[in-house]
Symmetry: C2
Subunit: 136 residues, 2 copies
Amino acid sequence: MLLDMRDYYTPGEVAERFALTLDTLRYYEKAGLLRRVERSPSGHRRYRTDDVELLHLVRCLRDTDMPIARLRDFAELVRAGDHTVPDRVEVLQGHQRRLDERIAELRDRQAVIQHKIDYYLGVLAERTPEPVEETI
Amino acid sequence: MLLDMRDYYTPGEVAERFALTLDTLRYYEKAGLLRRVERSPSGHRRYRTDDVELLHLVRCLRDTDMPIARLRDFAELVRAGDHTVPDRVEVLQGHQRRLDERIAELRDRQAVIQHKIDYYLGVLAERTPEPVEETI
DNA sequence: ATGGGACCTGGAGTGCGCTCCAGGTCAAGG
DNA sequence: CCTTGACCTGGAGCGCACTCCAGGTCCCAT
């Protein structure tokens, strides 16, 4: 049962894993979100563990609306070497802060919307003046 | 001290109140998010309390990423009359549900990002092996 | 009467993040 | 040998939500 110990992943595998299209994957590379990915002799991409890990983070950051431009800046820090770790931390912490704010905003807006729903439900209750059912 | 009891608002006032541009305000009207707004004899828009209230809700829904198309559908329900209140409730409740999901997703992603931050902080701590300061 | 400011119109332009396409290469299986 | 499928390229196109613009009107204060 030949365990497949390849040390790389094909574009199809990576795309599926992160629920991205091949186009998006290539777009991210062009945009500088990934380093220039390795190739097989035939020119097909080979994603290394490093790429996949970075892509995992990229996915999280995109899912939370970090713009491509900021992601590229972050990726450049990664490529620049270990001495940029403090800068990377700062970028990520800034993002977390913005996320906290965004979540708080969503909650606030939700409250306003809930008021409207409750108002509507009140209107409905009035319109159908169903007698309160009493348990004897 | 002549209290200004106008029963309408100018475009400028409305735009400022909701932090929208005049262009966006007109765009929303064209897009069907507001009913065709009244005009002064000179052709300038006059927003009524109704418009302002709807716009307030529209603002909340846009701030929480409801697409323009769905907002237009909602606005059409509003225009269609009181019998659509149950439908409106359903639209709003559906949106609340999606918001709950979105918030949950943001939190999940935040956790992943926090792991990365912690990992980086670990790397940094190792690199500068500061002796633990002990309180005597 | 003149200048400024708020507003009007229709339509073009922008930025973002993909998404699609035509035409091509390569490797494996029947 | 031929087909199939996975992948390649550069570049065009798309959907969304605005945003900007030129050229115009109206009204009020100096």
